[in-house]
Amino acid sequence: MEIPYTVTPRRETGLYNGKLGIWLFLASEVMLFGALFSSYVLLRVGAEAWPSRMLSLPLGVLNTAILVTSSVLVVMGWTALKLRQFERFKLFQGLTLLCAVVFLGIKSVEYRQKFNHYEVWLTDKGLEEFKAAHPDHEKWLKPPGVIPGKHSLTGHLADGRSFYDHRKMRANGDKEVVLTPDSIKPAGGEHAHPIRLAAAQIQRLSAYVPAHSSYFAIYFTLTGLHALHVIGGILVMAYLWGPGSRMWKSEPERFTNRIECSVVYWHFVDFIWLIVFPLFYLL
């Protein structure tokens, strides 16, 4: 039995099956991301302190440029199909896939950097001891950003481990941690020499993971969900670029419609990034 309306639009909706399906799917996606963007707004408005400049702006800008480029390329691929230029379509679709993979690669680099980067909040007594032991402490002490009124130190653990925190420190019975702190003044300067912090001086220690703060919780949720959508887009577009492209020989119109649906989806994924980028990297 032949399925109707895979190529020609249905009279009642003016859309063929695939296009109606992708728009209904995107409507549900709008609700999903809308809920998360609402959560971001509520968390931020309700927070006494909200961190800023926690992410790498160059990497964020680069990823934005890559996704915008990929949207242009994916439309050029669809245009090539409309003009019956199958080889050009293959080229543009391949380049789109390359952009998507590079985007994920850069995102994974960003994630890895966060998992190795720590913030340490000292107890009141520990802070006094730290200031007494390090007359140049102003170079390293970060203004309050997560816990209101609490200065902190940021940096890397000398042994380079990831996903360590104050709970594991206490459970392991570790007596101290060795931190290579970030220089705050001047910002982004070279790491200073490692400093030893006694376990008793540490109130809280966390990598830049979701448990660090509401900021990183919503950051990883939104960007992680977005990355999953990018992976989904890669799978679909790779199929249409590879084995699925055989349909072009037998049913070119239907294949072009499939590509059109993937283009609509890819624009949605990229549009979400255009909202995510300023929320986390600029504001």
């Binding site: 800008v61 934005t64 440029a65 915008v68 439309v75 245009t79 283009v263 624009h267 990229d270 255009l274």
Partner: protein, 66 residues
């Protein structure tokens, strides 16, 4: 929404983001004097102009396609 309109909508959003980033970076440069922000401001404004030119090109190109 046809692809043509969707793509123009998306590129317009990217264009506005480029202008917004240019304004943000310009403001940061004004406040801090760091030359890196100036690079962002000029680069973003430049990319905004490129996107604007691309939308016009795309609009003309789409007239060839039914």
């Amino acid at each position: 929404m046809p692809i043509k309109a969707l793509h123009i909508f998306f590129i317009t959003a990217a264009f506005l983001l480029g202008l917004g980033l240019a304004a943000w970076a310009g403001d940061a440069y004004y406040k801090t004097g760091e030359k890196g922000y100036l690079v962002y401001a000029v680069g973003s404004a430049g990319s905004g102009i490129i996107l604007f030119g691309y939308v016009i090109y795309f609009w003309k190109k789409m007239k060839q396609i039914k």
